[in-house]
Symmetry: C2
Subunit: 386 residues, 2 copies
């Protein structure tokens, strides 16, 4: 009687009504219904982005939206600051390099978040940089960056702040308008509880002015075309219709809960997970952990890959392991999207049982209890403890 549980930071579980919507006969992408669908999705996304700016979408993974946020915003020979604290910050750098943009990297030790002071120093040294490329939640390490602090630096300068919120959107707070973030990129298969294949992007007025000046080559990811057609409920190219119908279902859930409460829920799930980790005597990998995913340093005696495999084979549980140099050293448990307290209890309980089965000595049940205490005590009680 196998039953699977997905605790990866994308794809995340899909609500049942979204799964059912995708099983309906497909509609023409120029139909009145699809026009209404696209308009509704783009309107509801504004609530999730916490912005009055219009949102555009692309049929691609989140990386397609990231490429667009380079190709549409910059010109040949431009110089940008790239914050690299893991695989996804590095991806910003790689895309810029592929498009002939000069990067000034800030390399942050994995597990740490960037010091805004270091960014300010570089901004002062290089007043001609066109943009700072940052990451809300660096999914590969579980680190949350202080986007609000970075925005305080860029909004008083002509420099744009361009944020990869691929995994963070809807889980970690990102107040695009209040903070003054210029560009936010995200995608469907994380906090938006939709299968992969859609990227979503919001730009403010300053960013659109940069789009006008940009001369880097772009066609499929042309933001202007996606934006202008999107406002009419249309598209330049055939969109992923079934994924849009699923996204609408998921957005209905978020809009009903309200984005502030959605973020608070993720904050509670993350706090409980962290509390459980500490109760088990283990340590967190991220110094400033995100609400999206909790990365846990595995004891050296535990073979990380064997542990991940055991969890899948014996418990039906998929956690994410570490990537590249973190492979085998950390486990990442996502509490992202269509998740609540009961899911987190399953994630923690299985984690405990798996470690014991691997021969590692931890107090079975201690993590679960710690999580329950966070849930029953609420976030106030958690704050007092930590």
């Amino acid at each position: 009687m196998k039953k699977k549980w997905l605790f990866t930071p994308g794809p995340t579980p899909i609500p049942p009504e979204a799964l059912m919507a995708m099983a309906q006969p497909i509609d023409y992408h120029r139909s009145e219904d699809t026009v209404a669908l696209i308009k509704d999705v783009l309107e509801k996304l504004k609530h999730v982005f916490q912005t009055e700016n219009d949102v555009l979408f692309l049929t691609s993974s989140g990386t397609g939206g990231m490429e667009g946020a380079v190709a549409n915003l910059l010109s040949r020979g431009d110089k940008v600051i790239v914050i690299r604290s893991g695989k996804f910050g590095e991806r910003w750098g790689d895309i810029c390099t592929a498009f002939g943009v000069e990067i000034i990297p800030i390399d942050v030790t994995y597990g740490n978040s960037v010091d805004p002071q270091a960014v300010e120093t570089l901004l002062v040294e290089h007043p001609d940089v066109k943009a700072v490329y940052a990451t809300l939640c660096e999914t590969s390490t579980g680190v949350l960056h202080d986007i609000e602090a970075l925005a305080r630096l860029t909004r008083v300068r002509p420099t744009l702040l361009i944020v990869d919120a691929v995994s963070g959107l809807g889980a970690d707070d990102l107040q695009m308008d209040n903070w003054g973030v210029d560009v936010v990129v995200s995608c469907a298969q994380k906090g938006l509880m939709t299968p992969p294949g859609l990227s979503v992007v919001a730009l403010n007025q300053r960013a659109w002015e940069a789009v006008e000046r940009s001369d880097l080559p772009k066609y499929y990811f042309d933001f202007r075309k996606a934006y202008e057609t999107g406002l009419q409920g249309s598209v330049p190219y055939t969109p992923a219709v079934t994924l849009l119908t699923a996204l609408q279902c998921a957005l209905n859930r978020i809009c009903e809960e309200g984005i502030r409460r959605t973020i608070a829920r993720h904050s509670r799930l993350a706090a409980a997970t962290r509390s459980a980790v500490k109760a088990l005597g283990l340590s967190l990998f991220a110094v400033s952990p995100a609400n999206t995913v909790t990365s846990i340093r595995l004891p050296e005696v535990v073979d990380g890959k064997a542990f991940i495999n055991l969890m899948l084979d014996e418990y039906g549980i998929t956690y994410a392991g570490g990537q590249s140099q973190l492979s085998g050293k950390i486990v990442r448990i996502a509490h992202l999207g269509w998740m609540n307290e009961n899911d987190v209890i399953v994630a923690i309980s299985a984690f405990e049982r798996g470690l014991v089965e691997m021969g590692y000595d931890i107090p079975l049940g201690a993590g679960v209890t710690a999580a329950q205490e966070v849930f029953n005590g609420g976030s106030q009680s958690q704050k007092k403890k930590s």
Copy 2:
């Protein structure tokens, strides 16, 4: 009791087992099952492409694959021939221009297919052109181009033949290996009976050598990365997992039927549709019509847009109208993908009834009878008649 019928050249109807597969809980894209899924899909695509070359896939619309077939094959300052006989041939030119590639266009009157002689003349005049960009079925006009004849010209030269088979693949014959086509681009939502969001591309050895030389900027659509990871059942970025599961179901159907019989079926459906059009005293828009879609010149007294709307509102039928300058002037009936004889009878019967309801005098039933005759007589009988 509304019932919808989709006769657009993409998205096309999805087989029920593919719809059901998409309603299953989503899987992690690094799971063993997804690795096996990707390998299976890529292997089965070779059969549809009629090639021994490995196929790669991208999470994007077909246009993303087209952009990749420019950005990965060419370098700055390269010169190419672009065959423009409608919206999609023009798209090749637009992408090349966006990437700074010089184009030598061959403009073909809408409704006609390119004269290979004209292409040969240009190839002789410009022996330095790197590629010819062509279209198998120009979906906007319903025209089939003679790709085999074009390949005879390019395969004896260093020039690559790069074919947009977005709508044509699996409906119109395209023997990549036998004919010597270098690059074929297609996507999910046409002959492959899958919702939009996946592009599929095959390259031969000559094309891969050009990829090595290419210096145009690319990141998300990097063919080399997609190809190398794909061979391992992996991906560089989170793929559209649910669409891959649907594509596997659809490919199972095509592989069971066999690509030669799949194409023969489309040929039969197209012949019946054309025969019906003639029996109604109407004329075809395409001089060399494709198996994918039949474009019909509407009588001038019939308001094309009103006709399309009537068909949808009263009959639940979606045909495609004309695009740009053909808007209101033609109707396009696709017989593409998960379609058989009964579907075509519905398409023709409703078409007749709609015209009569619009006040146009045609012999009700004549088209249906003509189609039935083609089906019952087989393609041989059809050949004798025309």
